[in-house]
Symmetry: C2
Subunit: 392 residues, 2 copies
């Protein structure tokens, strides 16, 4: 084998998803991209806010000495300080810069955290459906992902989580607003989860890891509750990919709860992991940019409009789903129950979506609404027609 | 243990190096930074070239749609194409964009490569003294680093490398120009190493990994020979950190030899690893910038001047070393043979350097000359005095 066994296997496993993407590319070549309705990608298409461009321009127009050089592995102190203020506000408790590490996006942050806390064979509990990369992230660092069912509306089922705790459990990952379901966990749910973690941490420390890049993308007057006041052993991993629409720039951070036991050791571990995993530091220029944009969020009106369009249109067409409170996905029940079959059926109508099985949620499909309203308006009657003509 | 055993151990092990840094910080606070001569850090202090700032300004002044968004995990196609042309020139063979993956610096590239090729227990041969992060990188992905001695002038000893090959060997890492020695390996050496790899690859594929971020920082009319025409199973991992003086921006790439067996599988593996390690993609804006700067290199005249200053001054003072042909380090014999003792001795004179033991080269110390000429001129008489007064 010219490459590692695990990697070869992962390429093999992901090949059917790739085949579906190739199918989509083929359709676009055949019928023209404008006649294919691609709802597969969670790639924010709303442009970054004006203030982002202004800040970038300011930094590029008047370069300061050393601005593109190395800094401490944890990031520029003034940027960490600024972000600590933002996190303090969001979490309603005082977080200092000592608890902030700048990272290459939330994916970088998640890997840094798991590298730091996982011993070989340690388990990480993940409610499903889930962001499929978590399995890789846990495995990268010798850990094992343990999946647990959520409730019918995709809210957390604390009983299921509690049942999954073993003497190998080291962390529980939550992702709210959730990809792929759009669920936002309530303050009450967070409190119950925290109680469960505190109870079981008496035997062995369990960390609550909150992966929250969609924190600012919420609808229906929802807000994402903080976790720091409820769960001392908690870490936030996040990025500016969605809140500023800059996913290609790979800029995010880890924030550690100041109440964390062995805070200093944990921070030293995270900083070391950030270095030795090869991240070294988060991209310098983007650190500076985001450090100045604490109060800036991308305009979410377009996302909310599209969400409403889809929610109303799909309901009217007869689809069944729980309305999302955040992120830009709808996780919809696959008519007939076979998600892969229904995804293939929709392909015949030039509609591309992702089967739920890819997120540990078979029987559902994910619609990503990072596309123009026009495209959604055109697609909705086709969704309806396809359902009427579906005969599994 | 609140963090992983391995991480706790690594923090512990690195704590004496940290203590030395803390000592330095204390000295600076006590005597003023301008009276402490800090030669510990390999942080390029020559400002990036004009063209870098121009390109950055151009991209920031007239933002294009989607320029900060996700792209294919391997990077922007036009950037990869541009870099393929650069690599083709450097390697004197035709490399296409299919062989290029944009990465978060050379450290990111090294981790992506090792993640892709190492099965648990696989060995990676590294000539010493060596860049100390390699040990972490191999271990991150279940591998084991096997160190081999170089010759007295730090050139590769192919016989030693050959003796270290086992049925577990998967890769050999070279780093030319070398950190910490400044050695540049000759074309003849590369040819002999390639012959050794080709011979042993008949039983089991061995990759030659060339970590070459210092390729453009060379002196004494040296050039860094290509490896692709000699060794089919070869991969380049590099960055723009030194050639453009932008180490904080984390931008680099992997280039895979088009003659590599199972080229497509290897590339698919590298692209997958780049994604699942959490890098996702290399920073988008910096991809665009470096893609336009194929012919641009930082002005190395200041480095060459400082190198000459140090070489002449240290010789005159009675120190013993092999003159570096590249990078910005001098790896100098520690008088008396005990590097840690001599480093502590120099601290008494407010001179900060790194003991060779940190690079697998005990008995030596490393001087990094990323500092002003003035600082070197002031420090040289002190180096002389310290040696005269040294009585181990």
């Amino acid at each position: 084998m010219p490459i590692a066994h695990d990697i070869a296997q992962s390429i093999e496993k992901s090949s059917w998803i790739r085949k579906m993407f190739e199918e989509g590319t083929k359709l676009k070549a055949l019928y023209g991209a404008e006649n294919v309705y691609d709802f597969t990608l969670g790639n924010p298409d709303v442009e970054p806010p004006e203030q982002f461009f202004d800040e970038l321009k300011k930094l590029s127009d008047t370069p300061q000495k050393g601005i593109h050089g190395y800094m401490s592995n944890a990031g520029f102190p003034d940027v960490r300080k600024s972000i600590a203020e933002k996190v303090s506000r969001e979490q309603s408790c005082i977080v200092s810069m000592d608890g902030i590490i700048m990272t290459c996006g939330a994916a970088g942050a998640m890997n840094v955290v798991l590298k730091t806390i996982l011993d070989p064979g340690d388990q990480v509990i993940v409610p499903k459906p889930y962001f499929v990369e978590y399995g890789f992230y846990a495995k990268n660092h010798g850990g094992e992902m343990v999946l647990v069912d959520t409730n019918g509306d995709f809210s957390l089922n604390i009983e299921n989580i509690e049942k999954a705790v073993t003497d190998k459990t080291r962390a529980i990952i939550i992702n709210s607003p959730n990809n792929p379901t759009g669920a936002v966990y309530s303050e009450e749910t967070i409190k119950s989860l925290a109680d469960c973690i505190i109870k079981h941490s008496k035997k062995r420390s369990i960390y609550l890891i909150s992966d929250e890049p969609y924190r600012d993308i919420v609808y229906n007057n929802k807000t994402v509750p903080g976790i720091f006041n409820y769960c001392p052993q908690s870490i936030i991993a996040t990025s500016y990919s969605k809140s500023l629409s800059i996913p290609g720039e790979r800029i995010g951070y880890c924030a550690v709860n100041p109440a964390c036991k062995n805070f200093d050791t944990l921070m030293a571990g995270l900083i070391l992991s950030n270095r030795i995993l090869g991240y070294v530091n988060a991209p310098a220029l983007m650190q500076r940019v985001v450090g100045s944009l604490n109060d800036v969020v991308v305009d979410i009106t377009p996302y909310e409009k599209r969400k409403n369009l889809f929610v109303n249109g799909l309901k009217e067409a007869g689809y069944s789903f729980t309305e999302p409170d955040g992120a830009f996905y709808i996780f919809c029940k696959a008519p007939g129950g076979d998600d892969v079959a229904f995804v293939k059926h929709l392909q015949k109508y030039n509609i591309l979506i992702v089967p739920g099985v890819g997120f540990g949620g078979p029987g559902y499909f994910r619609i990503a609404f990072c596309v123009s309203e026009e495209s959604i308006k055109k697609a909705l009657p086709i969704f309806k027609k396809a359902l009427q003509e579906y005969n599994p």
